[in-house]
């Protein structure tokens, strides 16, 4: 499998704190690549660098041969990279459908917004059809006209994912999609991820603390601790890696 996305020697400082220290990671086309590590290891910082909310002091991030470093946040989406958020951020005062329509922004055409017109009718018909297709995939179609803020936690997580999927990404960054979910909901997320990667060929980078999910879906696991990569490999190898056990999984994991 060829590498589609790579993070090369990225260093990020927040004042005196070295959040990421020459971190590198290569993600294979079509893979589910998990990024794990204890709290504060720098996982979300990696995502924030990719979506250009924070800028590394050195290093490069390359997707499909193009560097992302010089792009604005909205430019990253246009290349085909979408993300979800760890603490569900939602467009709370907009409906479920409108949230997904916002997710379509990068690929929906512009038209004159203050009046009727053929371009508008065409663009909106297409957008609503696309949005409903995504909602049907994630199972949120019955909640189409509810306000996002009125959904329960599990459905808000799914809406975050739906909004990201609406951009038709080639690379999807998922920041703790299973955090706070019940077992049954986790297996639901598991099924969706496998479907996205295997059937639709979307490359996924997954930050997650729920080991059950990571071990079940990931092709490769990268482990971060205090801003540095301490291990990388297939889930089985990571499970028995001495460094990882020491830094992160703890004693209990050796019995698992």
């Amino acid at each position: 499998m060829s590498t589609i996305f790579s993070i090369r020697d990225v260093t990020v400082r927040f004042g005196g704190l070295l959040a990421l220290n020459r971190f590198s990671m290569d993600v294979a086309q079509g893979a589910i690549h998990a990024l794990i590590g204890p709290n504060g290891a720098g996982k979300s910082t990696v995502f924030n660098c990719v979506s250009r909310f924070c800028t590394p002091v050195s290093g490069d991030i390359v997707f499909d041969g193009k560097s992302l470093i010089a792009l604005p946040p909205h430019g990253v989406v246009a290349l085909g990279i979408a993300r979800t958020f760890q603490n569900i951020e939602q467009l709370y005062r907009m409906t479920v459908l409108e949230n997904v329509l916002v997710g379509l922004t990068s690929r929906a055409p512009l038209y004159f917004p203050f009046g009727p017109g053929a371009a508008r009718a065409r663009a909106e018909r297409q957008a609503v059809a696309d949005a409903e297709e995504v909602l049907a995939q994630t199972g949120l179609l019955p909640y189409r006209d509810m306000l996002a803020g009125n959904l329960d936690f599990g459905h808000q997580k799914l809406l975050d994912l739906s909004r990201a999927l609406a951009a038709k990404p080639r690379l999807l960054l998922l920041d703790e999609p299973a955090a706070g979910l019940r077992n049954r909901e986790i297996s639901h997320v598991d099924a969706i991820l496998v479907d996205l990667a295997r059937r639709r060929g979307i490359t996924i980078v997954l930050v997650e603390h729920v080991m059950q999910l990571v071990m079940s879906v990931a092709d490769t696991v990268t482990v971060l601790s205090f801003g540095e990569k301490i291990a990388e490999g297939v889930p089985a190898a990571i499970r028995s890696d001495a460094n990882v056990i020491e830094a992160y999984l703890g004693r209990e994991a050796t019995h698992a």
Partner: protein, 337 residues
């Protein structure tokens, strides 16, 4: 269809225009004056709400753009002989252009800093209207001539009302369309979460600048419309008091919702008339009443009066919302190995 306002939202606009032609035949001039004033306030309030309620930008330069609309339309007409049908859009475009220029530095600021900076701009603008004697006649005010629309001389409340009703109907229609457009959704998205908006491909900074520009254009239109039924313009109405009034209308009615803003403008706009009709002496409490109403509204109904009644803004959980995986997702789960 989702992208266009439904007919039941557009039909009342036809009624508004019809009322604009019929009412002047029956109502006394004083009522027509109140109706005209409310309609201008409504255009002004909708413009401010696009910035405040839709886009979440707490900017208060609005009243300055209203002034550009008023003085621009009047002066273009008096000094250069530009007719209203051309002068009003030109003045609104000038307001929008200045709104655009202000937005470029202003959108770098957030929250209270944005509020203070834009408020300072509005104060500066009022100072200009007050002191630029050679153009605005300063604090003496400016007597303006009656606009003429293709030979139809406006000037009085009775003759202005149908024209203002048409302008308001166009503004409302444009706003209804904007609310169901890609741009309208982008404005609301940056209000709810700038991170989600940016991660969805929205250029947050550019969208804020667009919001400022649209908002300023609406204020310019409101200003131009004001010259239709006033024979005298004066800088005193272009200060903090008018701004607070329009702000109260939005907050009390329900910011971010068109029906809420309409409700707020009508209720607070009629308040002085109610106080005037009440026993003598109550009118002096007008400003106190506005302050009290605004405070109570913010404390007890942050979504405004409309928010109390509207299904969309009321937090409600349907019993149907279980945490169980929805049916299509379950099906998908069974297919996967």
């Amino acid at each position: 269809m989702h992208g266009s306002p439904p007919l039941r939202h557009l039909l009342p606009l036809g009624l508004l225009i019809a009322a604009g032609f019929v009412l002047p035949q029956f109502l006394p001039e004083y009522f027509l004056y109140i109706a005209n004033t409310l309609m201008v306030y409504l255009i002004l309030a909708i413009g401010l709400d696009i910035l405040l309620g839709w886009s979440g930008q707490f900017a208060f330069a609005h009243i300055a753009f209203y002034g550009i609309g008023i003085y621009g339309t009047a002066l273009l007409n008096m000094r250069l002989g530009v007719p209203f049908v051309l002068g009003m859009p030109l003045a609104a475009a000038a307001a929008a252009a200045i709104g655009f220029l202000i937005a470029i530095p202003a959108t770098r600021l957030r929250a209270v800093y944005l509020a203070l900076a834009t408020f300072a701009f509005a104060e500066c603008a009022q100072w200009v209207y007050r002191t630029w004697d050679s153009v605005t006649k300063g604090p003496d005010g400016l007597r303006i001539s009656a606009p003429d629309i293709f030979g139809y001389v406006v000037g009085t409340d009775k003759r202005a009302l149908p024209v203002i009703a048409i302008i308001l109907a166009l503004v409302l229609a444009a706003t209804l369309y904007l609310g169901r457009s890609k741009l309208g959704r982008s404005l609301c998205a940056i209000r709810d979460s700038e991170h989600v908006a940016a991660a969805s491909g929205i250029d947050v900074k550019r969208t804020k600048v667009i919001a400022f520009t649209i908002s300023a254009f609406y204020a310019g239109v409101a200003g131009g419309t004001y010259t239709l039924f006033q024979s005298f313009i004066h800088p005193d109405g272009l200060g903090v008091w008018t701004l607070v009034l329009v702000l109260s209308m939005i907050v009390v009615g329900g910011s971010g919702t068109l029906p809420g803003v309409v409700l707020g403008v009508v209720l607070l706009g009629l308040l002085p008339e109610a106080l005037r009709a009440a026993p003598r002496g109550l009118l002096v409490w007008q400003e106190f009443a506005y302050g009290l109403i605004l405070t109570l509204a913010i404390m007890f109904m942050p979504r405004g009066i409309w928010g109390l009644f509207n299904r969309r803004t009321r937090a409600r959980r349907k019993p149907a919302l279980s945490v169980e995986a929805p049916a299509p997702a379950r099906a998908l789960q069974h297919q996967s190995p």
